[in-house]
């Protein structure tokens, strides 16, 4: 694409420019199409391969039969009551249960809404310190994972269905044979484990088979951080950040807001320190030095794009000017660390160092999850010298129960497999090495040399296909278990529903190798915690600080709360290391008497004989310079390492910054694209260390010029009906390029254009606002000096400027405020809305036609006048504005959308005839039309997933955000039944509940003391397109930035006038 029009447009513009995409800047044809037609040409036409004649025939038939469709007679429905109704169950009212959804072994604490025994919606656990009520996108989408019709359903051996007993006897035979060699031929492979009960079980198994080895592998492991901490300080552990205490934050390629097990809490804390109210006009300041644009980076007040390999050099410079830890800063022998030395970097180092020094004890340096150990050591040294350790960063004892060297551990396993030493390989918990293992290990080839392989997972995936035994895993919502949250809090998992298929949890499969081969999850977990409680080795107490009276109240209480108080690192600190107090003591203290279980072998102090001491555990950090481009690996923001590939909700969630759905892309900088003549969607061939893969490219402003970022998770060959790659996309697999010596980045990449094009469905140019100041921005200083600066950025017509009479509201008047300063663009709101409101998945082709059905979308605007390095970006969640003067209401010929007495724009599906006038007249483009029958009515397993409080819409009907009217109605009825008014905060919309940064606030505008009224009273409150006099009742709080005056160049200063 020719970029000259972009440059001339930017040069010719006055004031501040906001733009969605490079297409908008270049004013391309495609962009104009989206702008003027909303849907691309022919999107509203019959898209089956049928001619016009056929179309007319069908139309005349449907006209003749119009109305007859409404004549369906309801079939007789049955009511099936209980035989004995369970206690606490009130038919028609949901129950909420506390449990956890583990992510890479780490608990994400949740409350699950259950309608008559069917889990339908996941919320965060408001009392759990790792959630405080919020969740992330993956956790929200777990509900679809539970009901996924493609899940593995039965035990199979070489493809033939087998009873569980057959597996049991096969393992007993293998086990007794292995007894002779003390299990030398047995290998286990799992993901990282934080579960105390599973760790004990593992220790028991390894005690019975002392020469067996347990390996752990996670392609997106945080191993680097752990190893670094081990090296940097004597105690091993994970850094725990306390963003609620940090005023100046430096991120060294860290995406702490949206990646990692603590991100939900981190977002909450970060947003709390950043929130500007009338009382508190202070903000934290975030500097991001990063290689691949991330949501954390674009949230930063200052962002510097460096190659991934240059981050360490920058860290050294910064540490040097802080005078931090000369030992840590000393270059490693043999490693040539490129030091970026442009004047810009020098200026950055000086300014950031100065700012950090000025905030000693209130600052924080965060090293990236995917940066090598040396960067973590430098970050640690800097935090130490700034006096941050103990305040803004603390170190927990190891989160994982028995960490093994991750990639090194997998290499060991593969070596043993190659040498024919592995007679029985048991892979637990859906670890999928055939797909995710580094390419140089050639895992699938080596797997063929294993005499007997067992695969346990939720899907029959690439690895399962090559294994002898396949065991279906049970979904976390079907499982008894436990896991630790990022801060160490022990989180208890209870099943919401009996396993839908023959699934068994990892612990239940592992029990096969113990003396009690048929123990089920409940017995394992309850028994473990009973002994732990009786041993007294843990400082366990209820969240309110009370001690538990006895083991029964303890067990009931932890199931009710979902977690055990007093088990966080902060409470016990490293003084009560996790394993030492664990059942070793419990069994020793005669706790075995509590249970009829034979006393399990006391686990050793370091519990498990882990795979050979990881001598080379420190991954060779920075690959030697080899010229060429730099290749950076990242997990995909929506399907991660491919484990969520079969989840339609996550596939259809627009990926941050590019808004691409259903596909992966290789990110290139606009400049590199220009040099190589690449346009978005051009398929390139990537050659890297002898491996080859293909990817469609996407130009991303802010990407370093000589780096290409690829994302894991696509090109899957056996993921399920949703996730399996099409033939032409099978090579879009970043794992094909990954080698074990440089897991996250390395030089020497060659790219070449193949000439092929891969159409991408990106929503970035959908639902445009014609550039009418959709986001308003000011710096903190400007806002402090002159709060009117926000109002001056737009025009607000007088209230009297309407022909329609004023609406009167006697009772409640609902409204919403969205703080653009807090929003990080994580899109959890979109997934929460999908889950709450039964929103269908439409598929890639339909998204490309502009027909995605999301009721709340997250618009993303780049800002600034230099599109190459555009680093500033703003996110704007857009639900229905529920306008006071709603343009949609007046054009509906059948009154299917009307104004309610509480201010909502009601949408009546059963009255809608599908003229789409309302959508044409909506300036915000928030109405969604169900063009085809998007909802899956046929798949049985999806029926119980749907929220029974929300209509499942059919074809030909308009739908849109309702402010979660089902929740409003329930709260209203509850309030009336108790003869009171609805309390402030009683109605929480799904998007508000999930938001980790509390950017969305909903409430009653008629109550001047409600939270939303107070927020809307701030002077940075404005309405989107309010010059149209629609008087939206969803309004926004302008984004505020807190730049460092020393770094803020005059060019990127926001214009104070238009």
């Amino acid at each position: 694409m020719d970029s000259s029009p972009i440059r001339s447009r930017l040069a010719g513009s006055h004031g501040r420019v906001y733009w969605r995409s490079l297409g908008e800047l270049a004013d391309t044809l495609e962009f104009r199409e989206y702008l003027h037609r909303e849907f691309p040409e022919q999107a509203s036409e019959w898209n089956d391969p049928k001619g016009r004649r056929q179309f007319l025939k069908l139309m005349s038939a449907s006209l003749a039969l119009a109305g007859v469709g409404a004549c369906t007679k309801q079939p007789t429905e049955m009511i099936v009551p209980y035989v004995k109704q369970p206690e606490d169950m009130i038919p028609g009212r949901p129950l909420f249960f506390a449990t956890a959804i583990p992510f890479s072994g780490v608990a994400q604490p949740v409350l699950v809404e259950s309608h008559m025994g069917r889990p339908t919606k996941i919320e965060g656990n408001p009392e759990h310190p790792a959630s405080l009520g919020a969740t992330d996108t993956f956790t929200q989408a777990a509900i679809l994972g539970l009901y996924d019709p493609d899940r593995a359903k039965t035990v199979t051996n070489r493809g033939a269905v087998q009873p569980w007993g057959a597996f049991l006897s096969a393992m007993q035979t293998a086990g007794s044979r292995q007894k002779a060699t003390q299990g030398a031929g047995i290998r286990f492979l799992s993901g990282p484990i934080t579960s105390p009960s599973l760790a004990e079980l593992m220790a028991t198994v390894l005690a019975a088979f002392p020469k067996a080895t347990w390996h752990q592998f996670d392609p997106v492991a945080r191993a680097a951080a752990q190893v670094a901490e081990t090296a940097a300080q004597s105690a091993a552990g994970d850094p725990l950040y306390h963003f609620d205490k940090a005023d100046v934050i430096v991120s060294l390629d860290a995406d702490f807001l949206t990646c990692g097990p603590g991100s939900v809490r981190y977002q909450k804390d970060f947003a709390a320190r950043r929130r500007v109210t009338d009382e508190r006009k202070e903000m934290n300041r975030l500097y991001a030095i990063e290689s691949t644009p991330s949501l954390t980076g674009v949230k930063a007040d200052h962002r510097l794009a460096l190659k991934a390999g240059e981050i360490e050099g920058f860290a050294r410079e910064l540490a040097g000017s802080l005078g931090a830890g000369p030992g840590a800063a000393a270059p490693q022998p043999g490693a040539s660390v490129p030091r970026p030395s442009t004047p810009e970097v020098a200026k950055w180092v000086a300014s950031v160092a100065k700012d950090l020094q000025a905030h000693r004890g209130r600052s924080l340096v965060v090293a990236g999850e995917y940066q090598p150990a040396s960067v973590h050591a430098l970050a640690h040294a800097m935090n130490q010298s700034l006096g941050n350790v103990g305040t803004t960063v603390t170190y927990g004892a190891g989160l994982e129960a028995a960490p093994t060297g991750n990639a090194a551990s997998l290499s060991d396993l593969v070596r043993a497999m190659d040498a024919g030493q592995v007679e029985l390989l048991v892979m637990l918990g859906g670890v999928n090495p055939v797909y995710t293992a580094p390419a140089d290990l050639k895992f699938s080839e080596k797997l063929a040399k294993v005499a007997q392989s067992v695969y346990h997972g939720l899907y029959v995936d690439e690895t399962a296909f090559l294994c002898h035994w396949n065991l279906p895993d049970s979904h976390p919502l079907e499982t008894w278990g436990d896991a630790r949250a990022y801060d160490g809090t022990v989180t208890v998992m209870q099943p919401l529903i009996a396993p839908l298929y023959e699934g068994r949890s990892a612990a239940e499969v592992l029990a096969v190798f113990t003396a009690q081969s048929d123990r089920r999850g409940h017995a394992i977990v309850k028994d473990y915690w009973t002994r732990a409680f009786n041993s007294g080795g843990w400082a366990m107490r209820a969240p309110d600080g009370q001690a538990f009276r006895n083991v029964d109240t303890f067990w009931k209480r932890i199931l009710h709360d979902g977690f055990i108080g007093g088990t966080a690192f902060a409470d016990g600190g490293s003084a009560t290391p996790f394993i030492a107090a664990a059942p070793a003591a419990a069994t020793g203290a005669g706790a075995a008497a509590v249970t009829d279980a034979p006393s399990p072998a006391a686990p050793p102090a370091t519990p498990v004989a882990v795979a050979a001491a990881p001598a080379q555990a420190t991954p060779a950090p920075v690959a030697a310079l080899q010229g060429g481009l730099e290749l950076i690996f990242r997990p995909d923001p929506t399907v991660w390492d491919g484990r969520f590939a079969n989840n339609g909700w996550l596939q259809e969630l627009p990926k941050p910054l590019t808004k691409v759905t259903w596909d992966t892309t290789a990110w290139v900088s606009p400049q590199l694209a220009k040099e190589r003549g690449l346009a978005d969607g051009d398929v390139i061939e990537l050659k890297y260390r002898g491996n080859t893969a293909r990817m469609p490219v996407f130009r991303v402003p802010g990407q370093p010029h000589e780096s290409v970022t690829v994302f894991f998770g696509y090109g899957r060959r056996m993921a399920g009906n949703v996730g399996t790659a099409t033939k032409d996309a099978e090579l879009f697999n970043a794992f094909l390029l990954r080698t074990s010596d440089a897991p996250w980045f390395g030089n020497g990449l060659e790219i070449s254009k193949t000439g092929a094009r891969h159409p991408l469905a990106t929503t970035q140019e959908h639902h445009l606002m014609e550039g009418r100041a959709p986001v308003r921005v000011a710096t903190l200083e400007e806002y402090r000096n002159e709060p009117k600066i926000i109002a001056e950025q737009g025009e607000k017509p007088p209230k009297t400027l309407t022909m329609y009479p004023e609406h009167k509201y006697d009772g409640n008047k609902w409204g919403m405020a969205i703080d653009l300063s807090s929003c990080t663009g994580c899109s959890a709101c979109t997934i929460a809305c999908v889950a709450e409101n039964n929103i269908p998945v439409v598929g890639k082709e339909q998204v490309a036609a502009g027909r995605e059905m999301h009721w709340i979308r997250v618009d993303h605007y780049f800002a600034g006048n230099d599109y190459d390095t555009a680093v500033e970006a703003y996110h704007q969640p857009v639900p229905c504005m529920q306008c006071e003067n709603a343009p949609c209401e007046v054009v509906c010929p059948v009154a299917a959308t009307t104004h309610s007495s509480e201010g909502l724009n009601d949408m009546v599906y059963n009255r809608c005839v599908g003229t789409r006038y309302c959508s044409n007249n909506c300036p915000y483009k928030v109405r969604r039309f169900n063009f085809l029958l998007y909802q899956d009515w046929d798949t049985q397993s999806l029926h119980p997933m749907r929220n029974p409080d929300v209509t499942v819409r059919s074809r030909g009907v308009m739908e849109k955000c309702t402010y979660c009217v089902q929740r409003i109605n329930q709260a209203r009825i509850d309030a009336k039944r108790e003869d009171r008014d609805i309390r402030d905060g009683e109605v929480v919309t799904a998007c508000q509940a999930v938001c980790p940064s509390e950017a969305i606030v909903f409430g009653n505008l008629n109550d001047p003391n409600s939270r939303v009224s107070k927020i809307k009273a701030q002077e940075r409150n404005y309405g989107l397109l309010e010059d149209l006099n629609t008087r939206p009742r969803t309004t926004y709080l302008a984004a505020l930035r807190n730049p460092n005056p020393e770094l803020e160049s005059a060019a990127s200063r926001p214009a104070t006038e238009h």
Partner: protein, 219 residues
Amino acid sequence: MSQIFHRHTNIYSRLSILAIVGFAAILGGGVAMLNVSGYNTNQDRFVEQPIQFSHAHHVGGEGIDCRYCHASVEESAFADIPPTKTCMNCHSQIWANAPILEPVRASFRENKPLQWARVHDLPDFVYFNHSIHVKKGVGCATCHGRVDKMPLMYQQATLQMSWCLDCHRNPAKFVRPRDQVYNMAWERPAGDPEMGERLVKEYKIASVGQLTNCSTCHR
């Protein structure tokens, strides 16, 4: 050129126009009648049930309160169909061997739920909530009729939207004192025409505006 048709054929064309209009009117009227007929609404029709349970006997004869079986009516949208256990509370003692009750005993014995056919079945896009109606003084009999006189249960009202709106537009005509909600035989006192208005105020029944919001019932 001579006329093909004789003049008197004009009468046929006029008549046929009339006939078409008439036919359309009759067809329209027929469809409208069919729409409100019991065929469409299931009004006044008996439904086959696993056990011919008699409300007339249990409510009218024995005087059992509605809430003994429909236990969640004051708390939930759904009034609850009793679990088999509720039947067995009495029928393990009385009529314990009656052949007609064998399905109940079988259900209890085999832990298999009874399957009742729904008599009052609203379309799935309508969200009716029992608890709020009971709270605001809408009697059971107002919608369900004199259940105490129904040997077999049937749907007395049309359950069509216009029927709902009759009350939502004018609740004063239908509400009764809260303590009479479960009284099947309650009748509006003739000497107190103001009672409805008074109760609407006293029970803080929402404005007609709110009661007729689309989202009150559809969401």
